[in-house]
Symmetry: C2
Subunit: 441 residues, 2 copies
């Protein structure tokens, strides 16, 4: 038993929630996408639950079924989080920003400005972008992976160097002596990469946490691990099983070690989608109500995952003993074993789907205790340092999580009852950093 | 006599004010540059005075005498204005953004997100950037003027097209019918320029004013007039005399006419720097207290403007009758005639300098009535539709302007007593616009 606590972040995907039809729940304002009052409400609810940060994924192009579902991200992650900064006090803001399509000087400037004005609560989820629809919005071809990651290394190095270019003791602001800044402590960085470059300096002083926290996210390719190991203090993962997460977390920690850092300084954050309800049945009904037709359409996919055919006419019946006997979890898809486990509990095919077995992250449906059990099991198995939680419907799903799950975690001693501090670094449990990490060569 | 009222904006240059040493006034927190509480306080003070907008110039590089004065702009104009959006209700936010060094898709997205979350109060001061120090921060050479302006045309056209790409009636959000967006009304723009391009669409709905207001700023070169005439609803000027301003304003209006627009739809905004004090003498003393050494160093420059030599030992004496007789305003510098006029009033050379005769804009020093007279004279002479005011020291200079100048303008019937509306367009008096202006070809 250690003192270590798990860390929670909340995924702010679109204003509505993780369910495809969250936007059309009667208690939800369907105009929430453009309503920053709602963002504020959600941020404050998460802050009540001592969440360490809000995390905004981003995909700067229109995709998916926008006729029946929503735009899959906030209007603009950084702008929208900035707007709520002054209405919260402790929660951090981890906004996704592309190393491929944003200028390093602009990234450095905007994120550090948010860090200073939020008193040390900003984080940058630095990602590369390979989607052709996004590239087209910037009028550029998709760069190959080697180029994207080379540019990412250059961009992050430039950003961190710019962050450190106003030295920590540069700002004299001595009115009587008439000295504002010591200009010798505000020096160019003069970094020239193959794809991006900047002279600097950046004229923004340190925040209460020094500089924004670098995150990254995605699958653990060698390219991404090289980014994570060298620069990131948070790794936003997409994983479905404890085994997968443990292996992946170890890769991330090893990458940090190889880069010369202490692996405890990078927090591995697994995803979780939540439906908190008094019973599993009520939770499933809520999910079917707002995503039913989408779930139903996934029936053939479920059959493929289990290696069996499921008759659409029998969607409301449990799998037969024969089906269960011949079902095999597809080894290429880690979600299959979860689907099989749920099916063996005797749920109908529709209810198996309503358990979220075909989604971006593991899903827990039911009372708070089930959620707490999942988080504790993963945490104590070394599968994650923390979790980013996407509630089914933000409007009441955040409060339900805070009221029904958080107290159990606190009682079990694995989650803080008060914020450890007022900065994102303090609440993540990662050390202060200013400028590039001198251990990384 | 018409109903037309003048419009006021406030220049937010750095957090401290227009005086070189504003940061070291004892009643000013020298850490204001990083203190967004102060930005909020200043914005609210301006809003109390029915200012239509805050205007943030921008120079994204370190320049000037930062050892004794300040960084010459906010940490990040757009981020800092966004942070105060929710603590104000009517005032607009005109942030400078470079067409040269920002991606049009990012500009379109960030400004429209601010526009939506501020309920229609955003403006974009679209400028080209030619300074080598700024270019170096982006790792690029300085582009020549033709290229910069070609890129500016392309960037603004792309931004406006993206703003219009979510059609005004695209957002159905009918929960019962399960229709979120009409995807046929969210269409790509597919603009391909020589320097920038974007496919779109941009997934942000209209704000209460449609889309952000485009401003531009600078000297009236043919290149800039072509930008202003086609796209801008506000023109931020640097002019020193009524004659100069009238001529320039006419050029701007003519450029709008030539582009197929109504010239009344572009507001010409002249600059003004202010020191409001019970008497001129007290105002001059305030200015000397916080910029004295800088003013004194300008003595040779003052001599050159007047075509005479001024002995530094006689800086505290009025010009002699002989000096005044031989003094001639340098025809190449419009500030010279103002300097000569002040000198003829019998002020010492030091006090002439303290009148701000060598500064970025005309300066008025003294009681509120003098300021009101200046504004009224320019306004009624057709030299400006409005003014952007930079107080000497924000901390008390905005309140002084609001308490001592605004009521006089209101009594004279040339300034609104209430905000005309809640959007920037309403308060500027420019029409709603969505997407590109169809009259401009």
């Amino acid at each position: 038993m250690t003192d270590k606590k798990l860390v929670l972040g909340m995924g702010m995907i679109d204003g509505y929630g993780g369910l495809h039809g969250a936007w059309r729940a009667p208690h939800v304002n369907p105009g929430t996408y453009a309503d920053v009052d709602a963002t504020v409400r959600h941020a404050r609810a998460a802050e009540r639950g001592k969440f360490a940060f809000l995390f905004t994924p981003d995909f700067p192009a229109v995709r998916g079924d926008v006729e029946h579902s929503t735009i899959s991200n906030l209007m603009d992650p950084l702008i929208q989080l900035t707007a709520v900064a002054r209405e919260t006090t402790n929660i951090g803001f981890v906004a996704t920003g592309s190393t491929t399509f944003q200028e390093p000087f602009n990234t450095a400037r905007q994120f550090k400005a948010l860090d200073v004005l939020s008193h040390g609560r900003a984080g940058w989820n630095a990602v590369t972008t390979s989607d052709p629809a996004v590239a087209a919005n910037y009028g550029r071809p998709v760069a190959d992976r080697a180029e994207r990651y080379q540019r990412a290394h250059e961009a992050i190095q430039i950003v961190q160097a710019l962050w450190g270019s106003w030295q920590q003791d540069a700002w004299i602001k001595d009115q009587a002596a008439n000295r504002f800044i010591d200009p010798t402590k505000l020096q160019p960085v003069n970094l020239q990469g193959q794809y991006v470059a900047s002279r600097g300096p950046l004229a923004i002083p340190p925040s209460e946490q020094g500089q924004p926290v670098v995150f990254t996210s995605g699958g653990p390719s060698p390219h991404l691990l090289s980014i994570a190991g060298r620069y990131a203090s948070g790794f936003i993962a997409e994983v479905w099983t404890i085994e997968e997460a443990r292996a992946q977390r170890e890769l991330v920690r090893e990458a940090a070690r190889e880069a010369g850092r202490d692996p405890d300084e990078i927090k591995y954050i697994a995803g979780l989608m939540t439906t908190v309800a008094p019973t599993v049945r009520e939770g499933l009904d809520r999910r079917l109500r707002y995503a039913g037709e989408v779930l139903e359409a996934r029936l053939p996919h479920l059959g493929a995952m289990l290696g069996i055919r499921i008759d659409p006419a029998r969607i409301d019946e449990p799998l037969t003993p024969e089906q269960l006997a011949s079902a095999r979890a597809a080894p290429t898809d880690p979600r299959s074993s979860i689907a099989l486990e749920v099916a063996r509990q005797g749920w109908s095919a529709r209810d198996v789907l309503a358990h979220g077995v075909i989604d971006f992250h593991p899903t827990v449906v039911g009372p708070g205790k089930l959620h707490a059990d999942h988080l504790q099991e993963w945490f104590e198995a070394g599968a994650a340092d923390g979790f980013w939680v996407t509630p089914d419907i933000y409007e009441d799903g955040i409060d339900a999580f805070v009221d029904e799950v958080v107290p159990i975690l606190q009682e079990r001693g694995i989650y803080p009852t008060e914020y450890p501090g007022t900065t994102l670094r303090a609440n993540l449990g990662v050390p202060r950093q200013y400028g590039p990490d001198p251990r990384v060569t």
